[in-house]
């Protein structure tokens, strides 16, 4: 994907992924890579920032032989996600109007 993903966009994507269901670090990375294809393979700073801002919390899940840390969206996180979605829709529509297929006057 040639378009760089800004930090804000990455925050929004991660927040949206966690909002779907509680999820752990490695899986988030897999999902982000699948969706956006970015070379950014480590999301720890993003997760930490979202936690510090109060949008995510983390908890430990007991597994058979180890503990795994899961992330969960807080109510304020869902609120922030609503904001992001609103911003995204406006942004997307604006870009679509100029970059989208079938638009523009080139012939």
């Amino acid at each position: 994907m040639p378009f760089p993903v800004t930090a804000t966009l990455l925050d929004a994507v991660v927040l949206a992924i966690v909002a779907r269901e509680d999820i752990y670090g490695y899986k988030i990375t897999q999902e982000v890579r699948r969706l956006v294809g970015i070379s950014e393979s480590t999301l720890y700073p993003v997760l930490r920032r979202l936690q510090k801002d109060g949008f995510l919390t983390a908890y430990n899940e007991m597994m058979t032989n180890r503990v795994r840390r899961y992330y969960h969206v807080t109510p304020s996180g869902r609120e922030k996600l609503r904001e992001y979605r609103a911003d995204w829709t406006a942004y997307r529509d604006a870009l679509e109007s100029v970059l989208g297929e079938g638009e523009g006057k080139s012939e």
Partner: protein, 240 residues
């Protein structure tokens, strides 16, 4: 490089972070490797990139969050994640202000810091040396006493036995027998005490050595803590 080495490199690079941040970060990557599975170890290492780089990003992010205002600044956010790893958005300060601070710090150090700290340090070292010397002296005394008694008893016993032989040859059989008896008793007593002392030492010395080792370890930890404090102060001064 394998996961173990990678994580160790990360751990070293994270040392500039406070303890809980460091633990949290290292734990994330430990779990990352675990979840990726051993078969993907090399791929993960490749994708993550140099551990120093990874750590630098996280340290920069930590500094960014530390100075962030309640409402996120979009410019700083974008810069934070996208900027070159070495760039930390810092407020530029006039050169003369930095110079003044450095000068003030130097004066403080010379007239207050060094004498006070130096005195404290010398005092602490003196106390430590004194304590060690006292313990060593007491220990030696104890060892000497413990060793001397059995040895004295054995020597006395042998002496008496030899004297008893002389009495036998001198015709005083009764006295000789008595003396022999006493000598053998003393000999036995000395041997028993000797064994007892050896057992005592065997029981006491390993815990003592462990105690000494613990003291040495605590000193090491203290110095490492001091070094970390100094490094953090330096980092803060640099980022000023």
């Amino acid at each position: 490089m394998n996961a173990y080495e990678y994580l160790n490199a990360l751990r070293r690079a994270f040392e500039v972070l406070p303890e809980d941040e460091r633990e949290s970060a290292i734990r994330y990557y430990e779990e990352y490797f675990l979840d990726a599975g051993p078969e993907n170890e090399q791929q993960v290492i490749e994708e993550l990139g140099a551990p120093e780089q990874v750590a630098q990003n996280i340290v920069n992010e930590y500094k960014e969050v530390a100075r962030r205002a309640p409402s996120p600044d979009p410019a700083a956010e974008a810069e934070g994640a996208e900027a070159a790893p070495s760039a930390v958005p810092a407020r530029p300060r006039p050169a003369w202000e930095t110079l003044l601070v450095l000068l003030g710090g130097l004066v403080l150090l010379c007239f207050i810091g060094i004498p006070v700290l130096g005195g404290l340090l010398a005092g602490a070292v003196g106390l430590a040396v004194g304590a060690v010397a006292l313990l060593a002296g007491l220990g030696l005394m104890l060892v000497f006493v413990l060793a001397a008694l059995p040895v004295a008893a054995v020597v006395a016993g042998v002496g008496l036995c030899a004297f008893s032989l002389a009495l036998f040859f001198g015709g005083r059989a009764a006295s000789g027998l008595l003396t022999l008896g006493a000598g053998v008793c003393l000999l036995a007593l000395g041997c028993m005490m000797g064994f007892g002392c050896v057992r005592l030492c065997a029981a006491c010395i390993p815990p003592l050595m462990r105690g000494v080792g613990w003291c040495v370890e605590q000193c090491g930890r203290f110095f490492r803590w001091c070094a970390r404090l100094a490094r953090q102060a330096w980092e803060r001064l640099r980022g000023w």
